[in-house]
Structure formats: C-alpha cells, structure tokens
C-alpha cells in the first residue's frame, strides 16, 4: 500500500467524496412530478384509450366491419359482429373491445384500411369492475367525441399514420401545401 493510498484510507477520502455528492443533490431541485396535482401533457400520438372514428358526413362509425383489426390483434380483445342489411350492405351490429386485455400495440390502428379506429391520448381511466372496461360501439364512438373532438382526431391521423398522400409528393409541393395549411 503506497503512502497515498494509506492517507486516503485513514481519512476516508472516498466516503467524504460520497458524502459531498449526496449533499450536492440535497440542494438540487427534486425531479418529482406531483401526479394528481401536476398532470403531464401526454406526448402527441401517445397510445391510450381506444375510440372509433365517427364519420362527420354520416354521424356514424367509419368502420365497415372487415375484421382486420380483430384478426391482427395479438391479445384477441376485439370482437366484431356483423349482419347483412339492405342492398347486401354489411352492417356492424356490435364492435367491442375488452380494454383490460389490450396491450396498446396499436396494430389495429395500423391494420385498419379506413382509418376507423384510433388510440386516443387519454390515459386516466379506472373503475371498480371489469365490466366498465368492456367498451361497446357506442362507448367507443363517445370516446371519439370526448377525446378526439373537432379536428384533433383527423390531425392525429395526418401526423402519425402513414402512408399519407403527401409522402408521394416531391418536397417542394409538400412545402407549398403546408404553407397553404398554415394560412
């Protein structure tokens, strides 16, 4: 043991360094977020509670009942029941999601060819029974009205779900279009 090491040992230099570090942190501001009082804005495109898109033209769901979302769902929590209506039209009788089983992978949103399903950024939902988390079609449409009202939902699709038509344009055209949007 060299003299230097010996001195370090008997004067607890390493421990004093550690004490200094904790003291420094004592005077640094805490990083805690006081959750229910201080809520954090969810990041854009974050994946929370599900919603079915309401078609502004008809006031009904956009969903056509093709069942692709149910097919791709890894946790098998989407149930779709359809029947045949007038003119051989397909009618979605029931569209149900068991939210407690969902893993929020958003594969359903990706699979949907009509953009009829979204995950809203709403993440604070809780309840006392399992039944409350069994979302029917009406509840899912309501979610759209609540959390994706007005243009929020369509902007969300535009920003986060590809391919969008602007991807196939040359850069200059995209710029012009964006400028038009802003104005």
């Amino acid at each position: 043991m060299s003299l230097n090491e010996f001195i370090k040992k008997i004067f607890f230099i390493e421990i004093l360094k550690g004490l200094l570090l904790t003291l420094k942190h004592f005077f640094s501001p805490p990083v805690t977020r006081q959750y229910p009082k201080e809520k954090r804005e969810p990041f854009p495109g974050s994946r929370g509670l599900h919603a079915l898109v309401r078609n502004p033209a008809t006031g009904q769901e956009k969903c056509v009942g093709c069942g692709l979302c149910a097919a791709i769902c890894p946790s098998r929590c989407i149930y779709i029941y359809t029947s045949e209506g007038e003119d051989h039209k397909k009618i979605v009788d029931r569209y149900e999601i068991e939210v407690l089983r969902c893993v929020f992978c958003a594969l359903c949103v990706e699979a949907c060819p009509y953009g009829a399903l979204v995950l809203t950024p709403h993440y604070e939902y809780s309840g006392y029974t399992r039944k409350e988390f069994y979302y029917t079609k009406e509840m899912l449409l309501e979610n759209w009205d609540k959390y994706m009202a007005n243009t929020i939902g369509f902007e969300y699709f535009d920003r986060f779900w590809r391919p969008k038509s602007s991807d196939f344009k040359i850069q200059s055209e995209v710029k012009i279009e964006e400028e038009r949007k802003v104005s």
């Binding site: 421990i15 550690g18 004490l19 570090l21 904790t22 003291l23 942190h25 004592f26 640094s28 501001p29 805490p30 990083v31 805690t32 006081q34």
Partner: protein
C-alpha cells in the same frame, strides 16, 4: 409529596416533548433522504407533509396487533417496551441547558451506556421470541454487534471523562468552557461517532434490520404499535447518542461567545448541535451502503477498539505531563 408530583409532571412533559421530537425526526429523515435522492419526501398530509408523522402514528395505533401463534407471548409483549423505556429514560440525565436535567447523576455517562445496553435486550428478545428465522438472525446479529461496539463506545468516552475528571454530564460540559473536547479528543470523537451509529443500529451498520437480507430483522413479526415502539426506540436512541456527542465533544449548551451569538439561549445551541448530528445520521444513511457482517466485526475489533485504547493511553500521557 408535592415535590414528587412536580417531578412526575416534569418527567411527563419531558417524555412527551421527546416523543414529539422522535416523531418529527422520522419526518425530517424522510425529507432529508428524499431530497438527497432528488425526490420530495412526504408531501400530501398537511403543508409539505408536515402532519405525516401524526398520520403515521394514528395508523400504527389502530392497526391490528398480530402475535405469531408460536411466539413466546410474554417476551414478545415486553421486548419493544424495554427498548422504548431504555431509550427514553436515558434522557433523564441529559442537561438541556445550564442547570436543567431531570436527574443530575454523578455517573451520567455510565447510566446512559448501561441503558443503551439494556436497549439491546429489546432487539435480542424481540428477535428470539418471534420464533421466526429472520427475526432470530436479526437478534443474533444485534447481540454480536452491540457487544463489539459497546466496548469501543465506552472506551471512546473514557478520554473525555479523564479530561473532565468526572462522569457527570454537567461537569463535562462545564469543563469545556475554554475549548470543546472535539479539539483535544478528535480520535475519541471519531470512534464515538462510528460506534454510536453501530449502537443505534443505523445504516451503514443496520445489520440487525437489513431489509434486503432479513426482511425486517428482529421486527419482522411485529405489527401495529409494537412495531412503532421499536421504531421510536431506534429514533430515541439516535437522539440520546446525538445528545451525548454534543455534551461530550461539542460543549453541550455552550455556544459561541461572540457578538449577537452570545444572546442565543443554551437550549437553542443544544438543539442545533443535536439536530446537526441527527442530520449527519441521515446523511450517512443516504450515502453509504450496508457493511458486510465480517467487515463490521473487523472494523469494530481491529480498528475502533485499538484506536480507542490508544486514545486513552495518549490522553493519560498528556495528563501526566
């Protein structure tokens, strides 16, 4: 008759004030450690969590008191009480300011050391009577640890007693009128500080509790207020050791006799020093990990004991010259 009533009242008030300090030491600890880890500590009960210790107390008081079916009931009941009684009655000889102490014993230091040994019984008996392997291991560890560190603790104070020529805490403080004993007894102070941490089972020497190894050590099987009593005993023990360090090495109620500082009353000086030590306890806890058991024993027998003995020899030599 009237006099004994007056003393009983004094003791009652004093004990309650101590318990309040103990309760708020828990709050203080959680705040200090929280901030050292860039957290906030308790924030919800009252302004900045100021009522947290009271909420904790009420919760512990109304919790179910579970006694394991195979436990030795009588000892299981009495163990935490021994701890609290030993810790709180140690305060009787501690002079808070000039001329105030519940009992002015001539063997004040010995009394405190004796009671801290009695306090170790609560841990050992609690661990043994629970009839659980974790508790038992905690109790065993505690007995070994307390025996090893008590020697160093006692010997480190011998130097102070030699310098003051008395074991009376009031005389020891008065002997520090010209200079605190920390300047003449730095080695003794160092040994005392470490041994006191080990004696009160605080981190980094909290082997008897050792959450990660022994669940909660000797108090694994305790619940409700009995657990609370162990907790109080530990924190009261910290106060006793901090007070002892203040009295023996930092001049007790004596402050800096200079300018406006001489106007500050003795009790304030005393509390400032005691809380500085309490803060040190928490600071150490937030910084260091737990020692391994053999390291603890090595440290006790091979470092602190020889250091304390050398300190006594050296002090004696100085006294002779």
């Amino acid at each position: 008759m009237a006099e004994s009533l007056w003393i009983a009242l004094k003791v009652f008030i004093f004990a309650n004030i101590i318990m309040l300090h103990v309760a708020y030491a828990v709050y203080f600890e959680r705040k200090v450690i929280g901030h050292m880890q860039a957290r906030m500590g308790p924030m919800r009960v009252g302004w900045h969590g100021l009522l947290q210790p009271i909420a904790d107390g009420i919760k512990l008081f109304f919790k179910e008191d579970i006694i394991p079916s195979q436990a030795d009931r009588a000892i299981f009941y009495i163990a935490p009480v021994i701890g609290v009684v030993a810790a709180v009655s140690s305060f009787a000889v501690i002079p808070l300011w000039e001329g105030f102490s519940i009992a002015d014993l001539n063997i004040g230091i010995l009394y405190i050391l004796a009671l801290s040994s009695v306090g170790a019984y609560s841990v050992i008996l609690g661990g043994w009577s629970s009839n659980s392997k974790y508790s038992f291991l905690g109790g065993l560890r505690s007995s070994a640890q307390v025996i090893s560190y008590e020697i160093a603790l006692g010997l480190s104070l011998v130097g102070v007693m030699m310098l003051a020529g008395s074991a009376n805490l009031r005389d020891i403080v008065n002997a520090q009128a010209d200079g605190w004993f920390i300047w003449t007894q730095p080695v003794g102070f160092f040994v005392f500080l470490m041994a006191a941490i080990a004696e009160t089972n605080r981190l980094p020497f909290d082997l008897p509790e050792a959450e990660t190894e022994l669940v909660a050590g000797y108090c694994t099987e305790y619940s409700g207020m009995r657990f609370g009593l162990f907790f109080m005993a530990e924190y009261a023990g910290m106060f006793v050791m901090s007070s002892l360090a203040t009295l023996c090495f930092f001049g007790g109620w004596r402050g800096i006799d200079f300018w406006i500082f001489s106007k500050i009353p003795g009790i304030v000086w005393f509390l400032i020093k005691v809380y500085a030590f309490i803060f040190f306890y928490f600071w150490i806890r937030a910084t260091l990990p737990r020692y391994r058991y053999d390291q603890l024993m090595n440290l006790g027998w091979k470092l602190f004991l020889p250091l304390a003995l050398a300190n006594i020899a050296f002090t004696g030599l100085l006294k002779l010259l």
